[in-house]
Amino acid sequence: MFLVAACTQEKAADTPGATLGTAAPTTTTTDPYAAPNPIDVAYVNRVLAGLDAVLGDVVRLVVVSRTIPREAADRLTALYGTDASLNLRLDSLSRDVAFRLNDFKQQPGNPTTIVWDLISAGPSCVFARVTRDYSAVAASPSAEPAVQWIAVVPLDASRDPGRYNRTGWSFVYDGFEPGRVPPQVDPCAGR
């Protein structure tokens, strides 16, 4: 509608007989999550930002409702590629809710995950050491960025019928082993 109005105004300003533009501008859209070859750090950071946004949406739904509404659970299901990783996050959120979300900001933003080291990257799996900054979510300023490891694989569309996750990737590993060490087995091995 805005474009139409702008064109109309431009035409009105023309003098009679003036030649108008001959071709309408074309718009090309590019998928920001189309994987480059080879997959690089910039791309993985872009994907992680998209996944962080989904997680931020979940946090905001939970903070507003003071529970885990079905939409939040569905968004989380779209974010995690395995039920084990999903349930780990659900457990953590459930306990946060039981504690009345005391440690959350009233208006939380997104966590921020940045690649520290791209350990392996391919079209079927990406494994990286990352830092995750929780300061936009946590009320306490002591929530410093934490080192952890992530592995993402192409999203199984059946886990995201609501199309909440537009990145095309989902976590199959998101965390660390006891003692905050990397997984002993490469989560991408065999993928």
């Binding site: 349930n87 306990r95 946060d96 440690d103 995750r132 929530a143 590993y173």
Partner: protein, 279 residues
């Protein structure tokens, strides 16, 4: 490692006790993750990820106390359900939350974190070989609600067929309210359920909600006008909502549904034929 439960108590102690029931804890730890505020670390199979407890699972010892909390999980069938998790009292998270289990003298009625989940999700089914042990009034109510036999509509349209262009009166032949009672360790449980009808008339039209029973002509309010003479599959769905109360606790339960059908219901066409008698 085994975790001991004290059914009906506010906390779960891992110190060995002869009166305690016991359940198995997954034997190994694996992936851990920070909570979203980085105030806690959660690990698959329990533990806090610090490595403090060596072999994994839930640490046990005299004086270690666990508090139950409702935990949403995605079950094996792909649906979300609510089970009971436990956090270690006092660490690593604040301990200013009242233990949610009853009966306990210092328990505040209505302070039941299980309630909010059962408005939307069912309780997880008990594991094979285990009996469910509800930890709160809300869990008792939710488990009972999943097991009650709700009335189902038995729809009928007299006299067994309809006439196109004339209203068909659907009789629901069900119940719109139902009360259930049960005894629980927390006191008498009362569930008041209310059903509302929704009708799929089989010709692409739907109607509802209908809060009253469908009745025959002329007082019935659930009616439909079929246009074409053919047969239709009519489905009547009754959506049930319910509230529960136990003593000073109360809450809402998730919606359930029952249904009834009329298969191959005929709508017939009647044509008027005017004859003139020859003189």
């Amino acid at each position: 490692m085994r975790r001991a439960l004290a059914t009906g108590l506010a906390v779960v102690s891992l110190s060995a006790g002869p009166a305690s029931a016991q359940i198995d804890v997954p034997p190994s730890r694996s992936t851990c993750g920070d909570s979203l505020t980085r105030t806690a670390i959660d690990c698959l199979g329990g533990g806090d990820g610090s490595g403090e407890f060596g072999g994994g699972g839930v640490p046990a010892g005299p004086g270690i106390v666990y508090v139950p909390y409702p935990r949403l999980v995605r079950g094996e069938n792909g649906d979300q359900c609510v089970e009971t998790g436990y956090y270690r009292a006092g660490s690593p998270v604040p301990s200013d939350v009242a233990p949610p289990e009853v009966p306990r003298a210092d328990r505040v009625p209505g302070d039941d974190p299980f309630s909010i989940y059962y408005e939307e999700y069912p309780p997880c089914p008990a594991r094979e070989g285990e009996q469910p042990q509800p930890r709160s009034p809300a869990e008792w109510a939710a488990r009972f609600w999943e097991e009650v036999l709700l009335p189902a509509p038995m729809p009928y349209i007299a006299p067994g067929w309809a006439i196109t262009g004339k209203l068909a009166y659907l009789e629901t032949r069900g119940e719109t309210t139902k009360a259930y009672r049960a005894e629980t360790p927390f006191g008498p449980l009362v569930i008041d359920a209310t059903g509302t009808y929704y009708v799929d008339w089989g010709d692409g039209e739907q109607s509802g909600p209908h809060s009253r029973e469908g009745r025959p002509w002329p007082e019935g309010e659930i009616t439909h006008d079929y246009v074409w003479a053919r047969t239709y599959d009519i489905t009547v769905t009754q959506r049930w909502v319910a509230t529960w109360s136990v003593g000073g606790d109360r809450g809402t339960l998730r919606q359930l549904a029952t249904s009834g059908t009329i298969d191959d219901f005929p709508a017939r066409e009647i044509q008027a034929v005017v004859r003139t008698r020859p003189r």
